[in-house]
Symmetry: C2
Subunit: 701 residues, 2 copies
């Protein structure tokens, strides 16, 4: 077993503990060392609890031990409730006993000062050099509600929770771990696991996601994070969840500068570049929520309802206005609201002459007040159409249990007959009504637009899970040129690596330049080639549109003269001769290296879109051509590639191939390449390919 696999096994053992030691156990259930025992006993934890206390013989009715070494049974998990100064020694004792994992509650580590940082590093060191796993420090612990293993001191954990939750929550905020159970209880839901990672001296968020991705009692993963310390591991965990078809919903905090400032002071961690996080989330099918409400709305919907097979939505409403609101919102979210088929409209008109038979289908009070009519209308919109999702708005008609009684059997029957359709319901309902419908697998919302948001989110997961992961072509990537890389070397390297470059030739003299230009055909561009020079046009090192031999000769001389004057330190190799590239769409493709996630590829359309509107998209390398197409589609300007203002459609396939290929190059040379950029990267009309017109490769010095 690899070291990584062993460590994952240690985490699994601690999170599935049958036997728990509580070090620093207190008889007082309101104290940090007392609450976990009280909670576990209250929840009816089905394993053994071993209090450890220097003085007492029994704690909360359980035999207590002087030290963890004295416990006469196997221990899977130690809860360490001792002051910061004693933590390292206690953890060492646990490691010496072979305990798989320990939770460290104490604060006073990296989140406070230099001494705290040193204490935390000591813990990290123990974890690295032994087999023990450490959750924390500064963690409120975790809860496995199914088994009653509430290994936490957080006062917000209620005295009981339903045991059938299928949602696993990972959070870097301890306060949120406690709060989450209140929020879940308020909507009649629960969790399989709540895991609070605290300062992450050892166990971090990505490993917890991977654990939940494999946990058989978890169907959906909620993740509340400020920063991700190990990007590659997070990618692996998210890819695993995607493979297991488990929806992941994320709140990523610290999106803005103000947010990041607060995040930094809070968890002593640097917030990563937000665009890269966004790229990771998109790439692995994660849904990013912008509020806690959305986080839970989407998470709970994913836990009870099927994922819709298509974008089409049918709307049933008792209020024309709400129907319009639902339709507007659906279109905003990228769903399609197509008219009902004519047969269906005809049938509906016969059923209720005054009903609105568009989509939204406007059910009248007449229909609603007659269960047989409602049942027929319901069957009609489900069975007379192929809408993948149906959203119904019931105004105040379903406001209490009594009101829904005549309709519930109808919903139950339709649901059972059509298990693969997504049904959502909105309107003014009390808690009983919400629970009654959600028990049928029908997410319910007071706010109508939230039903649509949830539908779109579940559709997002359906699309993400349906993606074919193509096996990456393991094309060999050529070695990088040695030393600093000048433009002809960069273009040559890209070309050799499978990314087309415009024809070019290095000319050492005016005569050579003229010969090259005549071979290519006029007009041509001339660009200075000198090691270490990047912004060559700023100092007059570029001439464009040279139309004849005379212009090329004069251009060569003047470029060399001005560059020599401006930068006498540079060794000039000559000028690059390139035929002018016309008739293409100017794009930028490039790579950056994220400190957490590694090499990423950027795409944007040239000019104002990139430079002014920052209309770019990213993906983590490597990725396939299908992902490259999604990446292109994400930019607002992508429509330009379809051909606008009379231009022909561009060769998107060549562009997507180049992006995918670039991702493989960035991945293969991750250690030595800081960035690659082809700007412009010209994409010619369909069938005519693409070409890097300029290229810069920065390597680590």
């Amino acid at each position: 077993m690899s070291d990584m696999a062993m460590r994952a096994q240690g985490l699994r053992r601690m999170l599935r503990a049958q036997s728990v030691a509580v070090i620093g156990a207190s008889a007082d259930a309101s104290r940090v060392g007392g609450r976990p025992i009280a909670l576990m006993q209250g929840y009816g934890f089905n394993g053994a609890i071993h209090p450890v206390n220097l003085k007492a013989d029994t704690i909360q009715g359980l035999p207590a031990w002087r030290s963890v070494a004295d416990i006469p049974a196997e221990v899977d998990l130690a809860i360490c409730s001792v002051p910061a100064e004693q933590v390292a020694e206690t953890v060492r004792q646990c490691a010496a006993r072979g305990i798989p994992g320990v939770i460290v509650f104490a604060g006073g580590f990296a989140e406070v000062d230099e001494a705290g940082r040193a204490r935390q590093e000591e813990l990290a060191q123990i974890a690295r050099t032994s087999s023990i796993r450490i959750l924390g420090p500064n963690s409120v612990g975790f809860a496995d509600f199914r088994r009653g293993l509430v290994a936490s001191f957080h006062p917000a954990f209620p005295p009981s929770m339903p045991r059938d939750g299928r949602i696993g929550l990972v959070t870097q905020s301890g306060a949120f771990a406690g709060m989450s159970s209140l929020l879940a209880a308020a909507r009649g839901g629960s969790f399989s696991y709540v895991l609070a990672t605290g300062n992450e001296a050892d166990v971090e968020v990505a490993e917890c996601v991977a654990f939940l991705a494999e946990d058989e009692n978890t169907d959906v993963i909620l993740c509340y994070i400020e920063t991700c310390r190990d990007g590659p591991r997070m990618i692996e965990a998210l890819a695993l969840a995607q493979k297991r078809r488990k929806p992941v919903v994320v709140v990523k905090l610290g999106r803005t500068e103000a947010g990041a400032r607060a995040a930094q002071s809070h968890s002593a961690a640097l917030a990563g570049a937000d665009a890269i996080y966004d790229a990771v989330f998109r790439q692995f099918g994660v849904y990013r929520a912008r509020s806690l409400e959305e986080f839970f709305d989407v998470g709970f919907a994913a836990a009870i309802a099927p994922l819709p097979k298509g974008d089409s939505l049918g709307i049933m409403t008792v209020s024309g206005g709400a129907g319009v609101l639902l339709a507007d919102t659906a279109v905003d979210y990228g769903l399609s609201v197509d008219p009902l088929p004519e047969a269906c409209r005809q049938e509906m008109r016969e059923l209720v002459p005054i009903a609105g038979v568009e989509n939204p289908l406007d059910l009248t009070g007449y229909v609603i007040n007659s269960p047989p009519l409602f049942s027929r209308a319901m069957r009609m919109i489900v069975e007379g159409t192929d809408f993948a999702s149906i959203s119904a708005y019931q105004g105040g008609l379903y406001r209490n249990r009594q009101a829904i009684e005549p309709h519930l059997p109808i919903w139950r029957a339709v649901r059972q007959d059509h298990p693969n359709r997504l049904f959502t319901l909105s309107g003014f309902m009390d808690g009983d009504c919400h629970r009654a419908f959600e028990a049928l697998g029908i997410p319910t919302y007071r706010e109508p637009t939230h039903a649509i948001r949830a539908t779109a989110a579940l559709r997002h997961f359906a699309r993400a899970f349906a993606r074919e992961k193509t096996v990456r072509r393991k094309t060999a990537t050529p070695p990088l040129p040695t030393g600093p890389i000048d433009e002809p070397e960069a273009l040559g390297f890209l070309q050799e690596a499978g990314i087309p470059a415009a024809p070019h030739r290095l000319a050492g003299s005016p005569d050579e330049a003229v010969a090259a230009a005549e071979a290519f055909g006029f007009p041509v561009a001339l660009k200075i080639v000198a090691s270490g020079l990047i912004h060559k046009s700023d100092i007059g090192g570029v001439r464009l549109n040279l139309a004849n031999a005379e212009a090329v000769r004069a251009g060569f001389d003047s470029i060399v003269t001005v560059v020599r004057q401006a930068r006498p330190d540079l060794a000039i190799r000559g000028c690059l001769v390139m035929p002018m590239q016309r008739g293409g769409v100017e794009c930028i493709i490039g790579t950056v290296r994220d400190p957490s996630f590694g090499p990423a590829v950027m795409f944007g359309l040239g000019g104002v879109l990139v430079e002014v509107l920052k209309d770019v998209s990213f993906r983590i390398a490597p990725f396939d051509v299908a992902e490259a197409h999604r990446m292109i589609d994400e930019t607002r300007g992508a429509v330009i590639l379809n051909g606008v203002r009379g231009a022909p459609p561009a060769d998107r396939e060549a562009l997507a191939l180049a992006l995918a290929r670039l991702s493989e190059i960035a991945h293969a040379h991750a250690a030595s390449v800081r960035s690659i950029e082809a700007n412009p990267f010209m994409v010619f009309p369909r069938g005519q390919g693409a070409a890097a017109v300029d290229a810069v490769i920065e390597r680590d010095s």
Copy 2:
């Protein structure tokens, strides 16, 4: 008194009725003709109710009359609960008796078929030719909760509502009128008025907004609309509300094609162009909500809390994560989250060494659990800073009345001492807690991001109400040229009307063209001038960058030849000679005529931004220069005018002046001009002005 003022007075009299006739009154309180009587009696309506019934002598304990003519008292309002076929006759009787207003409940009018449309037109005709005002048909009526005048049959109106509501609601959806009181009650709020306009044969939504803008019991106006039948009246109403400093929150339905299809089938009204509605809302400070939740969240906040004096926000939190979420969201909404002043940070550090003293201010459990400490922290963030708004997140700590008891006096005192600051609060609270804080004028939310959304919305109103309405310069606008208008006439007209145009001269021969070009200086452009030709470059009617006399002469001949071949039907006047315009930012300015709101002005930056991204903004004409600047700022590309990629800042002032001037021209010639467009409109570097380079004016034929 003008006819309009008289009609407004009629509406006021019916909405403030002291004496109500119910025609078609029923003894059964569950029937349409019985419910209004039961509701008014239940609510303790302080006026007189006169049932009218063909057979009964008493109805629900009240003396009944055979016809409206028999009622031995003055009647301010008649509720007409008779079938569609009898409505016109009944309304005529009411008009004959001099009753100021009638509500028509019956459906079966323009929303169903041709016969219904005729019936509705008959009602409109009665309203036009008498002094009676008609609310409906197909209206659920209205409610004045303050006086218990619930003139509605809608079953969702609850048996009682608080009488102190300060929010007036106008809705075109009857279902929503009923639903709204459930939604308000759920958050412990109420309305001054709920007005449902139905099919709007006479009274329409704009008049109701104007009524509420003048109503002394209404502070905030909520408006739920599908379409606005009388644009100019709506503009007047919104301007009045803005002048009275009454926030208006709108849900405008039918934004998308799918939504509009549903809207059309629902209310037999055409949905207007959404961009124009957006322009109207922005121009008059209206807040547009995208969900019912947002609609009420913003409306209720505006009804209880002060409008913040600036963009700055201070954040207090008990959870670092939630603090980051609040900060992120605040930045998204355009608020500023600046660090605490150093003195303040110092004081806070002394108070609680472990507190996070950035902004967000991370209050620890230590502070929260000590009311004196909490009070000091609260005072510090309010009095040690000049944050215009403060948003506090309390996690689950304020979950019930008992939990908030120690803190309420602190909030009350700070609120009283700082009546002009906006405080918002979020976290997990029960209904009691929400009401307790809202009674202090502190809007509360379960979802933290909604506190920020409300803050931003109130800030939006503060900005809108602070706008100086400059008195419009009543510059005379020259008359339009007669007949079809060709390019030199259009450029000349704009120039005469105060919008700069590039130098240009009409040349009837190659010699004249050369003379003009030599006078202007080379290079020049030549453009064909022929009546009725718009897309002149498509048929070869334009030559650019002509560098010398020879080129101009050849260009003139070739233009005339190709145009004559392509369009032998056109009378060619010659060619327009114009020096090439360089060094400016290409914009598009133009006017359109909206069928409901009249002339509107459009602005966009030329090229890909307008043509591909549709990055344009609109305003209803006329408007002032300050409004023109806001209009420019609304486009994503506006930043280009600041100078990007090394370009100097553009002459924004000249652009804004041109837009404002164009709005006056469009307004003055509203009757005869269909559209004006200057494309490109070149905006030169600051101080160098701007110029229309091409102009097209379309007049009504």
